[in-house]
Symmetry: C2
Subunit: 390 residues, 2 copies
């Protein structure tokens, strides 16, 4: 199995863009990714593309990914659309990694896109609902916030965590996102703001929920041989893990853990030969504030149930031991569904290159964690800054 | 890059099944695939799954593939939904192949499913339309049959082929499908029947169009080491090709060729080290009769423009030089969109094992050809019967 590197990554601004389409948004992400390589990668060298989207809003539904590569001028390149709900581009990244590992591609494009703000709020709620389990969740009227609210209630009941800890996720992530010019909600919020926001699904309030967002992100993956052609620190994909889980929350043994996160994390750590202690930063899936707490527990950032403490003690702050969601996370940066997984990769890439907006000190290892639905599919990737021999 | 084998394949019946769901249909396909291995493959050995669907009808839209693997009891297995319109499972098969080639998986499940008959005819037309180009085709009112009708008109105008040659596709494929107990429209039709059917989109009539169908199909792919554990002739994936193409017909230079088919075919032949002359049978994408003629030309079964002759001279009949669509093809077997690509693999598998319903004489090489939309994405695979050393 060949070693694989991320040689470039980029994103469009995340936000609400009535004058953009999924095509133009992805074009921006792609151009930014190409530019991050140093402008030296000939697009003709892209052998295959994997693009993730749930298909919310926008125009083209079937075959949207070939429409994107056509728009980029990548004519003929085999292009696969991947859809695993909110983990669509975590999985498109995984497929691109596999293609380069196999030797099917020397250079592969991974990415994702979503246009969400061109539908009414009701339609968006419906679209998001389709990622939840259908028969017993969606059709009984449970919204996506409602699913995570059940997890939050159980977590607060079972462990030493409070609604204020949920608000701390918002305060931290907005603090980071305020420094990220591509963030959707790039403003700071105080603990008081976050605590006093209107309710959405008890105990989750508005500041405990990410926005619906338009955006796109892209990463360029390459074999070691190709990566060696380019200057600067290289970003190796040191470990990859993925797992499916019960799509319906009601079918899981516990409401306070996402087993697919545990399994994907363990696999990625093992492949990279690291433990959570080795990580210098992480981008975790914070679609709702409770999801970030679950991620801390499930990915071994702390003992189970101690996630609240990490927030209260500042462990996950930019100057803490394990800065988490320095990009702003889904909460502040935004959550254009299909673009989120590779959006996290963009942050990992620039962190390891020392060029992030909220830069952590000289990192070697970083992790990305992308969740589909409420845990029906998860990917975890561990990235390592290293030098490639030319 | 490791050699990869198909060690099992199976499908559900194709048809209209109001009492089935995508879950139960895929379960049938999967159980049949497991049984074809000889009942000896422990499902726990499946490392990863790739499942294709457009998402027509049915219930679960986002995350439907993890819902399927959950239903099969494959808990935790990384599961990716692939969507490339009608080539969804041609591409899911490609992804499974890549995973085994890379060593990410020793055994991978590929497949697809679609439930189409639970929506009204109008809804189905809308769903199918989403695979065509949106702005200039679908929104201007062009149906999918209309797109292929344009190709048919151009082909009949440009080359020595007639409407009766289109009808010959129906006669041949229904003749084959009548012997396939899993075919949707498993009855014979005469040339007179096919010629005199009501019009759909001139020059295409009802017998020149495939039906909308419910169904599922599955294939089990494995490394050579795993394949060697099982008795009987082995089916090696000798060559794989894939290509994207202009999604909108109006953006292509010619209406009488699908460039992605040409590119994918050439790549698959080169990888397998064969030419079209080496093929003993083929399953090609005949969503409309004209598509089968284009496939003959694009895949090099004849000189360009001679597809009609192959039909008139019986070259593609079961007892001809290159029997094509012995399963009944999309026309008679049916076209449950996401299930079609791996459905073709099912036929190739049983042909090479000598167990097909319309068995060709002692075949060594077979080809499958799966088209998304009107050519926005194509996969071609070449299969070889061989012996694996234990």
């Amino acid at each position: 199995m060949r070693d694989v590197y991320v040689i470039g990554a980029g994103q469009s601004p995340f936000g609400s863009f009535p004058d953009e389409t999924y095509l133009t948004l992805f074009e921006t992400a792609y151009e930014n990714a190409l530019e991050s390589v140093g402008g030296k990668l000939d697009p003709d060298r892209i052998d295959e593309a994997f693009l993730g989207t749930l298909g919310v809003g926008g125009r083209q539904i079937g075959l949207s990914s070939p429409a994107v590569t056509e728009h980029l001028g990548l004519h003929g390149v085999p292009t696969t659309r991947v859809e695993n709900a909110c983990a669509a581009s975590g999985y498109s990244f995984r497929s691109a990694l596999t293609a380069v590992r196999a030797g099917t591609a020397d250079v592969a494009l991974a990415g994702g896109y979503e246009v969400m703000t061109d539908t009414s709020a009701d339609q968006t709620k419906w679209w998001l609902g389709v990622s939840g389990e259908t028969e017993w969740e969606r059709m009984s009227g449970t919204t996506f916030a409602g699913v995570y609210a059940q997890m939050a209630s159980a977590y607060l009941d079972e462990y030493d965590a409070t609604v204020e800890d949920l608000s701390r996720v918002a305060v931290k992530n907005h603090g980071n996102g305020a420094k990220n010019p591509k963030a959707h909600l790039g403003f700071e919020c105080s603990l008081e703001d976050a605590n006093s926001a209107p309710g959405v699904a008890d105990p989750l309030n508005l500041y405990h929920c990410c926005p619906t967002t338009d955006g796109a992100s892209a990463a360029l993956l390459a074999s070691e041989e190709v990566a060696a052609e380019f200057d600067g620190p290289s970003v190796k994909i040191a470990g990859a893990g993925a797992a499916s889980g019960r799509v319906g929350l009601f079918q899981r043994e516990s409401l306070t853990s996402i087993p697919a996160s545990v399994q994907a994390g363990e696999e990625a750590y093992a492949e990279a030969g690291v433990t959570p202690d080795d990580l210098d930063f992480a981008e975790v899936h914070d679609c709702f504030a409770i999801a970030e707490l679950l991620a801390y527990d499930d990915l071994g950032f702390c003992e189970r149930g101690e996630a609240g403490r990490l927030l209260r003690e500042g462990v996950v702050d930019p100057d803490g031991e394990l800065p988490t969601n320095t990009s702003g996370g889904l909460k502040s940066k935004g959550h254009p569904i299909g673009a989120t997984g590779t959006g996290q990769v963009v942050e990992a890439f620039f962190q390891l290159r020392g060029e992030a907006h909220v830069q952590v000190d000289d990192p070697t290892y970083g992790l990305t964690h992308n969740v589909g639905g409420s845990g029906g599919g998860v990917t975890v990737h561990v990235f390592e800054r290293t030098e490639v021999d030319a």
